[in-house]
């Protein structure tokens, strides 16, 4: 066996002992863990690294966990990858995100660990993982700077804290960080794919952001009108009713026909605050929600048809999708999509692939 997934709802240190027991002597080269914010992050990080001393051990706090075909909460979920899956690895922490994102030093550190420039790495063999503080508000700048620096694909999500919105954490090597992002480079010997799936289709209606405050993720005006009024009108409802439709009708930046979802969060002085930055002058499609389970199943099935089998999936799923699945009582159905595939992941405060987005699952497919 080359990939194992496990989870535990026990208290520390029992949770880590439980995960070790579920590994049954398996010696991982890399451990990814995703943990409820109820766990003390420093204790958890230290205990996880101590339990798997030979491995790169990285994780974050969550708004819910995914493991072993189940959507769970108040737990630690983990994926263990051995040397048949993972070759070289490197990591770095980008700190002080709110003061301005700088990734140069992080990449220099990773290059030292790999003894090679990142520009020389085969983009079909190396993948990047990114776990960011979900309350930093800096994910857009982070992904932009990473994308400027390298063409290696980085996938991941924003750490959560069980919907408390107080503090989130990323963890590596027995340490814990806030206001920071963890970058991990992995050589995946058997290859990989990345899936970005969001269960929406365009309504054909569009809105042009004509006045925005990017730092606040605020759209003041669409089409030179108060954002709330313009959004409500395009949906054919009163401005008072419009917030009730936020989950069903986010907006999409259409890139090569594929939406990068921007989800409205709340109204502010007739403007709309989003969970994502909106760029002024770039038209957005008004989206309509479709079936999360059907769409996600379709996305996974499409990958199963490829030449190499899927040996594992890391699922960075938006908390808004999780909340919708819980409301529809379809968590079990969602989990069943991954039957027979070792899967671990978590409910995020934002997803990462090329950029930052919402109401999406970004997934690392391990071949």
């Amino acid at each position: 066996m080359t990939i194992i997934t496990a989870y535990s709802a026990k208290e520390l240190p029992g949770a880590v002992t439980d995960l070790e027991a579920q590994c049954g002597g398996f010696e991982p080269r890399c451990v990814l863990f995703f943990a409820s914010s109820r766990y003390n992050p420093l204790e958890l990080s230290r205990q996880m690294q101590a339990a798997f001393p030979g491995a790169l051990v990285a994780g974050c706090s969550t708004a819910g966990e995914i493991a072993c075909g189940k959507m769970v909460s108040q737990s630690v979920a983990a994926m263990f990858l051995d040397e048949e899956v993972v070759g070289q690895s490197a990591f770095a922490v980008v700190e002080h995100l709110r003061d301005g994102v700088r990734v140069s030093d992080a990449f220099t550190q990773m290059e030292r660990q790999l003894c090679a420039p990142v520009s020389s790495l085969d983009i079909e063999r190396y993948v990047g993982l990114v776990l960011a503080d979900g309350l930093s508000g800096a994910e857009e700048a982070l992904m932009e700077k990473i994308g400027d620096r390298t063409d290696i694909f980085f996938v991941g999500g924003s750490a959560g804290d069980d919907l408390k919105f107080e503090s989130t954490h990323v963890m590596i090597g027995g340490e814990v960080y806030s206001n920071a992002a963890l970058l991990v480079l992995l050589e995946l010997k058997r290859g990989f794919d990345i899936v970005k799936t969001q269960s929406f289709q365009s309504t054909g209606k569009r809105l042009m952001p004509t006045k925005v405050d990017e730092r606040l993720r605020l759209v003041v005006e669409f089409d030179d009108r108060p954002a709330l009024d313009a959004y409500a009108q395009v949906l054919g409802v009163s401005p008072e009713k419009a917030p009730d439709l936020f989950m069903q009708h986010p907006l999409g930046l259409m890139v090569n026909g594929d939406p990068f979802v921007r989800s409205p969060q709340r109204v502010r002085d007739r403007g709309i605050v989003f969970y994502c930055q909106i760029k002024q002058g770039l038209e957005l499609d008004v989206l309509q929600a479709t079936d999360i389970v059907a769409h996600t199943r379709q996305a996974i099935e499409a990958r199963k048809g490829d030449s190499k089998a899927i040996s594992g999936i890391v699922d960075f799923q938006c908390i808004l999708r999780t909340l919708q699945l819980r409301a529809e009582n379809r968590c079990e159905e969602y989990g069943a999509i991954f039957t027979g595939i070792p899967t671990a992941g978590f409910s995020t405060y934002g997803e990462a692939y090329l950029g930052h987005m919402n109401q999406t699952s970004t997934m690392l497919i391990l071949r």
Partner: protein, 66 residues
């Protein structure tokens, strides 16, 4: 004059992607995410100085020498 914006965008995408069709798509995505629709301009688009300046900035951010 016209067409300079499209020419600059195409050059940046070509140089950054170095013939890879995958990297062409991701570089185009990076333009969108930086706030520029690469499909908005063609060889007849007027040479707006502010847009040209922004495109050149994006080129520098992506490490492309123009």
């Amino acid at each position: 004059m016209a067409g300079q914006i499209k020419s600059l965008i195409d050059t940046i995408i070509e140089k950054r992607s170095q013939g890879s069709s995958v990297l062409m798509l991701t570089t185009r995505a990076k333009f969108y995410l930086k706030g520029v629709d690469p499909d908005r301009y063609d060889r007849l688009s007027s040479d707006d100085p502010a847009v040209i300046a922004r495109i050149k900035e994006i080129g520098a951010e992506l490490g492309v020498t123009l």
